[in-house]
């Protein structure tokens, strides 16, 4: 499983390339373009690494799952420039995570199972209210956090197809 670094593909970067980010307010067009050229090179590098990872896995017959954020309004770089994901989890809180945070999963060399363990028991965390990263240009640990419940439920639902009746309680 690869939780591929997502900071270069997130929809916030789109604002930067459009020259509409708050941090660019006091910059002239030349300064914005100079900086955006650097950002474009970094994003291209990350994107190429992602494609190489897929190529390596495919050629070596490795079963690979790639995880990356998804945006319901279609704003991430991968949504518009990459192969289709096998799974989009629109609300991770329903499987026991802290965030809603729509997330896509690409399955290479195998297909996901189709289970659903319902576990809606966490107090919601909001990404924008989470602590920022220690280093600029990286994602903070808190914003990247995945609960162990979600990890377990994801593995059971999509990878090994294991039902968890002790967690997914029903009325009957």
């Amino acid at each position: 499983m690869a939780f591929f670094p997502c900071i270069q593909f997130c929809d916030a970067k789109t604002l930067i390339f459009k020259g509409k980010a708050i941090s660019q307010r006091n910059k002239n067009l030349g300064e914005i373009m100079d900086k955006n050229i650097e950002y474009a090179k970094v994003r291209e590098y990350n994107f190429i690494q992602l494609m190489k990872l897929v190529a390596v896995a495919y050629k070596r017959c490795l079963r690979l799952i790639i995880e990356n954020p998804w945006n319901t309004s279609g704003g991430t770089y991968l949504q518009n420039n990459f192969i289709e994901p096998a799974v989009v989890d629109g609300n991770r809180m329903l499987r026991g995570d802290y965030f809603v945070k729509p997330t896509a999963y690409w399955f290479i060399n195998f297909s996901p199972k189709n289970g659903f363990t319902y576990q809606f028991d966490k107090k919601q965390k909001i990404i924008m209210k989470s602590k920022g990263a220690k280093k600029a240009g990286t994602c903070s640990t808190e914003r990247s956090l995945i609960s162990s419940d979600y990890a377990r439920n994801f593995i059971c639902d999509f990878i090994i197809g294991k039902k968890q009746p002790e967690i997914d309680l029903t009325l009957f």
């Binding site: 499983m1 690869a2 939780f3 591929f4 670094p5 690494q49 190489k52 990872l53 190529a55 390596v56 070596r60 017959c61 490795l62 079963r63 060399n109 195998f110 994602c139 640990t141 990247s144 956090l145 995945i146 609960s147 162990s148 990890a151 377990r152 994801f154 593995i155 059971c156 990878i159 090994i160 197809g161 294991k162």
Partner: protein
């Protein structure tokens, strides 16, 4: 070795940040697992390495961590 519907999972390999969370859950489910990351913030990363470099090396068939990862065997 977990066997579900003829899919054999010998070991799960978890890459990049949050890989530790999934590694631990794989292990709880009885599936051997290890993680790989350039950071070791919690002191639990099994393989501290530059994964981008490992991907580059694997892509051009140089030695890399991918050499120790076995492909899955799909049931018939």
């Amino acid at each position: 070795m977990e066997t579900i519907d003829n899919v054999y999972i010998k070991k799960a390999h978890c890459f990049f940040e949050q890989s530790g969370t999934f590694k631990n859950e794989f292990r709880q489910l009885g599936i051997e697992a290890e993680d790989y990351d350039i950071q070791n913030d919690f002191g639990e990363t099994d393989n501290i390495c530059d994964l981008f470099k490992e991907i580059e090396d694997a892509y051009v068939n140089k030695p890399s961590v991918f050499d120790s990862i076995e492909g899955g065997r799909m049931g018939t």
